[in-house]
Symmetry: C2
Subunit: 202 residues, 2 copies
Amino acid sequence: MSRGRGILFVISGPSGVGKGTVLKKVCEDMKDISVSVSVTTRKPRAGEIDGVHYNFISKNRFKELVESGGMYEYVEVLGCGYGTPKQAVDERLAKDEDVILEIETQGAEKIRSVRECVSIFIVPPSLSELKRRLEERKTENSAQIEGRMAKCRQELPCAYDYDYVVLNDDLESCIRKVDAIIEAERQKVSRNIKNIDKIIFG
Amino acid sequence: MSRGRGILFVISGPSGVGKGTVLKKVCEDMKDISVSVSVTTRKPRAGEIDGVHYNFISKNRFKELVESGGMYEYVEVLGCGYGTPKQAVDERLAKDEDVILEIETQGAEKIRSVRECVSIFIVPPSLSELKRRLEERKTENSAQIEGRMAKCRQELPCAYDYDYVVLNDDLESCIRKVDAIIEAERQKVSRNIKNIDKIIFG
């Protein structure tokens, strides 16, 4: 059943909880859904690909987007801008495709305040398990890990404001649950009024 | 994650849409969920099994249940009572098990008015396809089929009052969608406050 309009999903969760891996698999599993890539003014780090991890844009272009009202949300961190441009998201939604935004809790709050979306927060089994995973990645020193853990303790209470909370204790099970949320949201009556009309009135 | 309390799912849909087949498979697929069987005062028809299709009870017992406030909903059709006793449902919900009620639109409306539940309406691709399926079953004559179609035309507009609408154009896909709705509802933040507390506060 075509719904005429896509659904905007907003996914957050602490660093190291496995959001990236989950979303990659979810977009492979499900049809008509894709992750919308954020823009940033910072320089790409080693291994980061333009258009995949971020769309890397100039400070001027970023300023233009902000001033023309072209961003759903944006933040500045250490002098660099990060944001979600409206156009790419809206174009896909208008084509009846669903869009996932992987954003931080602050950005999610902004988006919820300006438009309808379905928000999912991915949680680790415990803070100690999250720390273990960050240490296992071996990409950060212990001070950086402490920084991430402090940020996580700040972000976790935002989970109460989301629509869904998904535990990532087992990757396969976490992916299956996010798939289920997307599938379920597509069946909401409020999104299928025209389809019901069609069955009743032909 | 244990939620401490089960979810009550209410499933309706016109006769012949395949509710019974879908629910049987859903209960096989998913853990901790079962269909709660209605009670009736009418005599079992050929092939109907007590405790499976209905719990067949006496008119006196039915009256007792109604008068003691022991029914979530009940109706009388052609002098026979049909109803959903509270006790069997509540006991399972209290044990953190989910319960599915397969009930008619009138009963669903009553339940929604007295307690929180998640309601799903299963729809056929079209009225003509539903008629074709009823004819194919060869269990009813054409007058009976006309009666069922008239009832379906009455019931279908109730779909707008449900939370979810699932199209049964393909049995496997319909089952997968109902499974997804159950899985998604289990991840709702509102049902997992204690689990989030536990991750944050240990």
